[in-house]
């Protein structure tokens, strides 16, 4: 029940819908009592030979209006209660999404996408059930159960007490079943996910299976697994199957008691046949409230756990935020790195150590080094995906932290390593930072990134959709679209994070020339494995284990013995091999 108090803010917000729905439920519970009573009255008038045409018409009219009223009210409570529950789901989904957009990169490194997805789908679903079906079960069992019970008391209180003797047994048994069902259901779910894992593994290992010629054995082991699942599902069925027979038998017992004692009372003249018939019909109406109460506990248990998980997720803080004193100015000017050391959260060894250099506005910086040497980290710090504690980076006249994050980022165009594209049209992907950019601008950016011709070759040109449902792009094409996406911003600082790795040498050269020609007075930072990408940079840094081991221009570095020269010669050889000797 605790979860209902926690959800009170929402119930208050949807006060009107919930009170309408609950009121409708209560009226339905009362109106439901009328038809059995009418049947009873008709029976009594028939046996007493007092039935007249007017009476009959009168009762028929009551039945008709009652039926229509019930229909309207039932429609109403469904719309009100279930509708509100769906609104709750919508609201929570929105809040969660908004929260996701505010979470820093470190959050996404800690959490798995699958888990986050599960929160936004399954957990919200469970809370929705609590606010919809849960509320229905709660009020319906109270209203219908109460109304029927009172109506029975009105017919005869002694008969009521006697007839209801077996009912608590039913409540106890069904409750017992639902606990058992829950457990066996859980086991069946586990068996299902085992089978899922098995299948997954089998598909991934299909090459091994085929090369050892063991398809049949693999099938046999799957059969075994499916046998286990069958058994566990049968356990569920065996428990699940207990409900109906139990309910039918126990309500049968109540029925015998009611008929026996009721019949005795009828013969004694203490009760009319009509009333007895009404009474037995009421007995049937008691079954649902009793079941609903059992369901309620399961729904609440799940809903409460899910709601807690969602709340925990929403409680995650934004780690990187604007300082209260942040200046409202788009940064521009020279870049200056003064880093003593930088360590990623939850890591022990520093990723960067004593990095000090300056880059004048309009210059190009090349950063090279092995994987894991800290190249990308230098870029990430500039974007403030992480904040420095020991050291600072200056942009123009201020430290990075002094700018508003959105201002800082508006000065930065980033082309990430994994060149992530969204599954929308190519045009929308390129115009990502400025959705309203006219097609000409998109084309200019695409031309600079040397992808314009490729795009025009697709059947839908710039409207071609990217990804699973659209065209499958090569790695090089993706990279160039990602470059165009950054270029359309015409940023103060353009960062290419190993973003030319999948394009061939000629294309690389074209793109680099385009950048040089079109980005006067703008800064560019390029990290790369292939030295050709940074050959023309004003300054080159060679990183190893987070430290700068060499720096200078290409011409200077090639002359000196060391990592850079070695790499340079090696890559020339590699080029030859690639060309086939």
């Amino acid at each position: 029940m605790k979860v209902y108090f926690e959800l009170m803010w929402f119930f208050k917000k949807e006060k009107k819908a919930y009170s309408t729905g609950i009121l409708a439920l209560v009226i339905v519970a009362i109106l439901q009592l009328i038809p059995p009573r009418i049947v009873g009255m008709v029976v009594d008038e028939i046996t007493g030979d007092t039935l007249t045409v007017t009476n009959l018409i009168y009762m028929i009219l009551i039945l008709i209006s009652n039926a229509i009223a019930l229909y309207v009210l039932r429609y109403l409570w469904r719309i009100s209660i279930f509708g509100s529950a769906v609104r709750l789901a919508r609201l929570m989904r929105r809040n969660l999404f908004e929260h996701f957009t505010n979470m820093p990169i470190s959050f996404y490194q800690r959490k798995r996408t699958g888990d986050l997805m599960a929160h936004a789908t399954n957990d919200i679903q469970a809370v929705q059930q609590t606010a919809g079906f849960g509320i229905l079960s709660l009020f319906d069992s109270l209203a219908q159960g109460g109304a029927v019970f009172i109506a029975m008391l009105f017919i005869d209180w002694k008969l009521t007490l006697i007839a209801l003797i077996p009912m608590p047994i039913m409540a106890i048994l069904t409750n017992f079943y639902s606990n058992k069902l829950y457990k066996s259901f859980f086991k069946a779910q586990e068996a299902f996910s085992d089978m899922n894992d098995k299948t997954q593994e089998s598909i991934n290992g299909i090459k091994v299976t085929k090369s050892f010629g063991q398809e049949n054995e693999e099938i046999d082991s799957f059969i075994e697994q499916s046998e286990d699942l069958l058994k566990k599902n049968m356990v569920v069925a065996k428990v699940d199957g207990l409900y109906d027979p139990t309910i039918s038998f126990i309500s049968g017992l109540c029925f015998i008691l009611a008929l026996g004692f009721g019949g005795y009372m009828v013969v004694n003249g203490d009760l009319t046949i009509g009333k007895l018939i009404s009474f037995t019909t009421y007995l049937g109406l008691l079954i649902w409230p009793m079941l609903a109460f059992g369901f309620l506990f399961n729904v609440l248990e799940r809903g409460s756990a899910s709601y807690t998980r969602i709340k925990q997720l929403l409680a995650e803080k934004m780690e990187i935020a604007d300082l209260p004193t942040a200046i409202d100015e788009v940064p521009s000017g020279n870049l200056k790195y003064a880093i003593s050391s930088f360590t990623y959260p939850n890591c022990t060894d520093p990723t960067l150590e004593s990095i000090h250099f300056e880059l004048a506005k309009g210059e190009t910086l090349g950063i090279v080094g092995k994987t894991g040497s800290g190249k990308s980290t230098l870029l990430k710090l500039l974007m403030r995906e992480f904040d420095l504690e020991d050291g600072a980076v200056y942009f123009g006249n201020h430290e990075l932290k002094d700018y508003k994050i959105s201002n800082l980022r508006s000065a930065l165009g980033y082309v990430p390593q994994d060149n992530f594209l969204f599954s929308t049209s190519i045009r929308e992907n390129i115009a990502f930072a400025n959705v309203n950019a006219p097609l000409e601008e998109v084309e200019i950016a695409a031309k600079l990134a040397n992808i314009d011709e490729d795009i025009k070759g697709f059947s839908d040109g710039y409207d071609t959709v990217v990804g699973e449902r659209g065209v499958a792009l090569s790695g090089g094409q993706k990279q160039r679209i990602a470059i165009a996406r950054a270029l359309i911003m015409n940023p103060e600082v353009l960062m290419l994070d190993d973003s030319l790795s999948a394009v061939d040498a000629k294309t690389e050269e074209t793109i680099l020339r385009n950048l040089k020609d079109n980005r006067e007075q703008k800064t560019t930072i390029i990290t790369a494995h292939r030295l050709s990408a940074i050959k023309h940079a004003h300054k080159i840094l060679v990183l190893e284990n987070g430290k700068v081991i060499q720096s200078g221009t290409h011409e200077e570095l090639v002359e000196k013995d060391g990592w850079y020269r070695e790499m340079y010669l090696m890559q020339q050889l590699e080029e030859l091999v690639e060309m086939g000797g």
Partner: protein
């Protein structure tokens, strides 16, 4: 439009029929389920009749005679008792049939998948295959256990009730029959609209999930480009459309399902009351009959409500079922022998004769490949990524069929060997050895029950995998988690070697088996490999040239062609592509460069 709907309907029927045909192999179960169901239904129908007799013979006449009354009470009680057991048996028998059908369906689709050609797996994402085998069949299961069983039960019940009604009072029964077309109309209307609305709802939901997944994956891009606000409003838009779709569904359900059926139930009560009322004014009626009819009508509508609630699930499940059947019917089978002979591979001499091969029928990835390798010899394939090395293995292992040129083993075309012979005499060691969930022993044995534990240990010792296995807590029974991720790549490779030794193949195929190993196991791997090759024909794809220096023949591939061939020394003196690759790998820089 109507045409399209019609074809879809025919398909649905076909899928349903095909699913139901699975029940044929469980005739006995089906028969007993129906027998139980018959008894249950009879109980449901006779219990009100007992009450009817009680009302008519005793209550209305106000005659309380113990003996016949006791008899009625006992009858009523026994009917309920029998019904209780029958209901239970009937339920679990139906469940059992449903679950068995699903099990068979799962086994069928799984077996089919095992027999599909590798081409299929290259083209289809693993996730979608798994989803067909598990999730889609699960949807079909839900339909079978809840929808079909309850549908059959409802049909029995409704038929039983009408028969009884006709026996009791044909005229009134006829009146009651008039509600059947009304209900049919409601169901049809609901089905008509719910199909579209339900599909719309599912579609919106999957849009939400897709948007969410994509946004989570691309959040860094979103944030760097400061598009959080836009993404939020885009998400809100989809979220809202989903809400509208769900609301529409709720409205439709409220309009046409339970409340509507309850309305019809209320009107049928109206028919009864008016019928009996009018009749009683004109003459005598039995109260018991009135009671029985009211009772029957009450029972009549419950199963209908049940069926309607599950209607949407029903359509969902048929769609899922048809997806499962597309795999079961998939024609992309693994290559089979063209002429099945009992040829046995004794020596394991392999010869490629002018072999050309293409995956898509357009671009040749192998061009005119010819080479020969004898028992005890090693041929090594080197070349850049995409040069065609792996394709040679794909055709040799008969993962893919080829049509130009020939591959001979012991002088016989590989197309003439049974697949089982071919597979048992060739051992493939992959670059990233795949380990299965289980134990080390399981992974060496791989379903081959004939392998004793001694043989397994022997195999492990032979390739020197025993060194690290012995250090494990449970040794050969040590657990292997999914994909063996707790072992280093070198250790995984050693297990794969042991696996291959245990299978004792004549021809050994190494697919970059030493590409990524750690220094710790390097030595063990090299010795293991050497021993593995003893007395076998070896075809090795090598990334690291140092591992193949003692090969009898090295083939250098470039764009699907053999551009250089010879021994290590010969190729070095040629100073061609191989020589350059060799320099590159050894970090030696040619002075002239």
């Amino acid at each position: 439009m109507t045409n399209q709907n019609d074809t879809q309907k025919i398909d649905e029927w076909k899928v349903l029929k095909r699913l139901l045909s699975y029940a044929k192999s469980h005739k006995l179960l089906v028969l007993s389920a129906f027998a139980f169901l018959l008894v249950t239904t009879l109980g449901e129908i006779f219990a009100p009749l007992v009450v009817k007799k009680f009302i008519d013979d005793h209550l209305t006449k106000k005659e309380f005679v113990l003996e016949p009354m006791l008899f009625l009470a006992v009858a009523f009680f026994s009917i309920h008792l029998v019904k209780m057991f029958m209901m239970y048996f009937q339920f679990i028998t139906f469940q059992k049939i449903a679950l068995k059908i699903i099990q068979q369906l799962r086994i069928d689709v799984f077996s089919k998948v095992q027999r599909l050609g590798l081409r299929y797996f290259d083209q289809t994402p693993a996730g979608s295959i798994v989803s067909r085998i598990t999730n889609d069949t699960e949807a079909v299961k839900d339909m079978f256990v809840s929808v079909i069983a309850s549908f059959v039960q409802s049909a029995f019940m409704i038929t039983g009730i009408f028969i009884s009604m006709f026996v009791l009072n044909a005229k009134l029964a006829f009146f009651c029959l008039s509600i059947v077309p009304i209900i049919y109309g409601i169901i049809r209307t609901y089905r008509y609209y719910s199909g579209t609305i339900f599909r719309d709802m599912r579609e919106r939901l999957s849009q939400i999930n897709a948007k969410l997944a994509e946004s989570l994956q691309g959040m860094s891009v979103v944030q760097i480009f400061r598009q959080e606000e836009r993404l939020r409003s885009e998400f809100e838009d989809i979220n809202d459309k989903h809400y509208q779709a769900v609301l529409k569904n709720i409205k439709l359900e409220s309009f046409l399902t339970r409340p509507a059926i309850d309305l019809v139930a209320a009107f049928s009560l109206l028919i009864l009351v008016s019928f009996f009322g009018v009749k009683s004014i004109n003459g005598y009626i039995e109260i018991g009959l009135l009671y029985t009819f009211v009772n029957y009508i009450g029972r009549f509508f419950e199963p209908i409500n049940d069926v309607m609630v599950r209607m949407a699930m029903f359509q969902q499940a048929l769609v899922a079922g048809s997806r499962v059947f597309t795999i079961v019917d998939h024609p992309e089978l693994a290559p089979a022998p063209t002429k099945e002979t009992d040829s046995i591979i004794d020596e394991g001499d392999v010869e490629f004769k002018n072999l050309s091969f293409s995956y898509d029928g357009k671009k040749d990835v192998l061009k005119n490949i010819s080479f020969k390798v004898k028992k005890g010899e090693t041929v090594a394939l080197v070349g850049q990524t995409g040069s065609g090395k792996s394709s040679i293995i794909n055709v040799l292992m008969r993962f893919y069929d080829f049509d130009r040129g020939e591959i001979l083993i012991d002088g016989v075309s590989i197309k003439n060997y049974r697949n089982s012979e071919l597979r048992s005499k060739t051992g493939l060691v992959l670059q990233d050895p795949f380990l299965f969930f289980g134990t080390i022993k399981d992974n060496i044995r791989l379903h081959n029950k004939k392998l004793t534990d001694e043989k397994i240990i022997e195999a492990a010792k032979f390739v020197q995998a025993d060194q690290f296995i012995e250090k494990l807590e449970k040794k050969y029974d040590h657990e292997v988690v999914e994909r063996g991720s707790t072992y280093s790549s070198g250790q995984r490779q050693l297990i794969a070697f042991a696996r291959t030794v245990a299978a004792n193949p004549k021809i050994l195929i190494l697919d970059e088996a030493t590409a990524n190993i750690d220094t710790e196991t390097e030595e063990a791997i090299q010795t293991g490999l050497k021993k593995l090759r003893e007395g076998r024909t070896t075809i090795a794809i090598a990334h690291r040239l140092s591992t193949i220096q003692d090969a009898n023949l090295i083939l250098v591939l470039h764009h699907g062609e053999i551009v250089e061939r010879g021994t290590h020394q010969e190729l070095l003196t040629q100073k061609g592509l191989y020589y350059k690759m060799y320099l590159l790998q050894n970090g030696l820089v040619e002075q002239s460069a």
